[in-house]
């Protein structure tokens, strides 16, 4: 047999049935395990499909829960009937188109800032200023003939997305500043920042949210207080910043000293060394834990319910909270869970894309 024949055989590989046999049915023991495992898997898939699809009820013609009486499957009618509450919270019914548009505007802003074309300070800043302006005008109203809606009435998915985006937008610059200041050569500054980071990290997020919502009004002068939602977003951003700062710092520490020295030797200023040499590489190094932090932070938005904001999970609780739908809590939680899943999974995939993209040129 020639070498070429070997290569051809290897290229073809074993047939499908052959590889299945080798992997799952190579001995009587393995065959038994494969059969039992396969049967179990089929049973689970069948049960779930049965509940979620085949025996479920999707709509309610009269708006009551009568249609779900006596069925074995899922009562998705609760989503049909109460879905708007989950998505919009207590936002006035007639104005919910505004909340929809605002949420879409925020999502588009977030998605656009993931596109490499926007990756410079000016474009990103412009994008987010416009994004937030559109969001705020639509949600707050009170002019242009729009009904005024106070932030305390904002809610649901729209509120979750807003608190998340605003919290990270406030938190990320703070995190970068903390990470850089903590490396300061002046012990007073680095010590103060280290104390601040440790302090914030030692407190539960709930405590910080409470302090922001309830205690700050007693401390801050009136003109500095702003609406409760801004104080909560600031507290949320501070909490994010304390963790993210250490992630960025780890990315900086991982760089060889030669990088900073080379930039110095070329006569680059501190600002240019930091923004062009140190931070881009630090973020690359710190990408996996950064995505991790983004994911955790998204799920932590659910804690703002503690200071009276009805974000998506709290709105979900309210959706089955009325006596009529109280039996359908599983369906509501599955629905809210799916929403979280879509967001977090998208984030993870985007992180994976970034890692692939950044690997180019780094051998």
């Amino acid at each position: 047999m020639t070498a070429l024949d070997h290569a051809e055989i290897r290229a073809m590989g074993p047939s499908l049935t052959e590889s299945l046999r080798r992997r799952y049915f190579s001995s009587p023991g393995n065959t038994a395990i494969s059969l039992v495992g396969g049967a179990l898997l089929l049973w689970i898939v069948w049960t779930v499909l049965n509940w979620a699809v085949f025996k479920s009820v999707w709509t309610t013609p009269d708006g009551t829960s009568e249609v779900c009486k006596g069925i074995d499957g899922a009562c998705w009618a609760v989503i049909h009937q109460r879905g708007r509450l989950i998505i919009f919270g207590l936002f006035p019914y007639e104005e919910q188109w505004r909340s929809t548009l605002a949420c879409v505007a925020m999502l588009i802003t977030a998605i656009l800032s993931c596109v490499p074309w926007f990756w410079n300070a000016l474009r990103l800043a412009m994008l987010w200023v416009v994004g937030f302006a559109i969001f705020y005008i639509l949600m707050r109203g009170g002019f242009l003939g729009l009904l005024s809606v106070r932030p305390s009435e904002w809610g649901g998915l729209t509120l979750t997305v807003f608190i998340y985006a605003a919290g990270i937008l406030v938190g990320m610059p703070m995190a970068i500043a903390f990470a850089l200041l903590r490396r300061s050569e002046l012990p007073v500054i680095s010590g103060f920042i280290a104390g601040l980071i440790d302090g914030v990290r030692s407190l539960p997020l709930i405590t910080i949210l409470f302090a922001a919502a309830l205690i700050m009004p007693f401390i801050l002068p009136g003109w500095l207080q702003g609406d409760k939602i801004w104080r909560v977003i600031f507290g949320f951003g501070l909490f994010f910043a304390a963790y993210q700062a250490e992630i960025i710092r780890s990315g900086i520490q991982a760089l060889p000293v030669g990088q900073e020295e080379a930039a110095k030797a070329l006569g680059m200023s501190y600002f240019h060394r930091t923004t062009r040499i140190i931070l881009p590489q630090a973020f690359r190094n710190a990408l996996p834990p950064t995505i991790n932090q983004f994911v955790i932070t998204f799920k932590e938005t659910s804690l703002v319910v503690i200071v009276g904001f009805f974000e998506v999970l709290a709105s979900g609780n309210a959706a089955y909270g009325s006596g009529e739908w109280s039996f359908a809590y599983v369906e509501v939680y599955v629905f809210v869970g799916l929403i979280y899943y879509v967001f977090v999974f998208s984030l993870s995939r985007y992180g994976a894309y970034l890692e692939r993209r950044m690997r180019v040129g780094q051998h």
């Binding site: 020295e261 006569g267 200023s269 590489q281 690359r284 780094q362």
Partner: protein, 246 residues
């Protein structure tokens, strides 16, 4: 008359209680090509790193291009722009292409336009004989190629002085000559050079003066023919025997 590029008088450097450099005196004229050698830990790298203030000295005077380096230096970055440095481990920026490595600081620090910076960069990349690698990333190049890019990057700032900190020590043997060739050409063009290196062939070929350092002191200094053929100090002779015997 030639101008003074670097003037070091009575310079001392400490790391904590360790006396790393002792009473260093050195004058470098513009156009001088100086090779510094000595056993490892003798302070030769530390000395040239004091010249662009990557290390701070504690006593004595260092003047570079007429400006004294001390805490009162308004902006050390301005002086560093005129003093290029080539490192043992290249220290190219791995997230930037070869071309961007070369154009970044001229554009940011010298406010050169992009077109102008790229023209200059391509000129120097041609001079170090790797213009075809301009769009690649440093990680895709061999060690010798990376070091030549590092030299081109330093040259793009149009420095008055070039410092070399063991530029061939991290290279595989077959790549040393391609880097030395570039350095010889630079020397022949009249660049002011301070090279810390163990390449004695290079020292013989281009150096005006060879400096031997040991234990933080300048032990001996002289033109290469005297230095290699009739070293005055015992320590120099021992070092030369060790380094030239293989």
């Amino acid at each position: 008359m030639s101008e003074v590029a670097i003037q070091i008088r009575g310079m001392n450097k400490f790391y904590g209680t360790f006396h790393a450099l002792k009473e260093i005196n050195l004058t470098v004229q513009k156009g001088d090509r100086i090779v510094i050698c000595g056993p490892s830990g003798s302070g030769k790298s530390t000395m040239i790193r004091c010249v662009n203030r990557l290390e701070e000295h504690q006593a004595g005077v260092i003047e570079v291009l007429g400006t004294e380096l001390n805490d009162e230096v308004g902006n050390i970055d301005v002086i560093r722009r005129d003093v290029g440095m080539v490192f043992q481990h290249f220290n190219l920026f791995p997230h930037l292409t070869v071309l961007d490595n070369c154009t970044l600081s001229p554009m940011l620090s010298r406010k050169v336009s992009q077109a102008e910076a790229e023209k200059t960069a391509m000129m120097y990349l041609e001079r170090v004989k790797i213009p075809e690698q301009a769009e690649k990333f440093p990680g895709e190049l061999s060690g010798g190629q990376q070091q030549r890019v590092a030299i081109a990057r330093a040259l793009c700032m149009k420095p008055e002085i070039l410092l070399f900190d063991e530029p061939t020590s991290a290279l595989d043997p077959e790549m040393i000559s391609e880097v030395l060739e570039v350095m010889v050409e630079l020397a022949q063009d009249g660049m002011t050079m301070l090279c810390v290196t163990h390449e004695m062939g290079f020292a013989r070929q281009v150096a005006d003066r060879v400096i031997f350092m040991d234990k933080g002191e300048i032990v001996e200094e002289g033109p290469p023919e005297d230095f290699f053929n009739s070293p005055k100090e015992e320590r120099t002779r021992t070092f030369l025997q060790q380094i030239l015997s293989h």
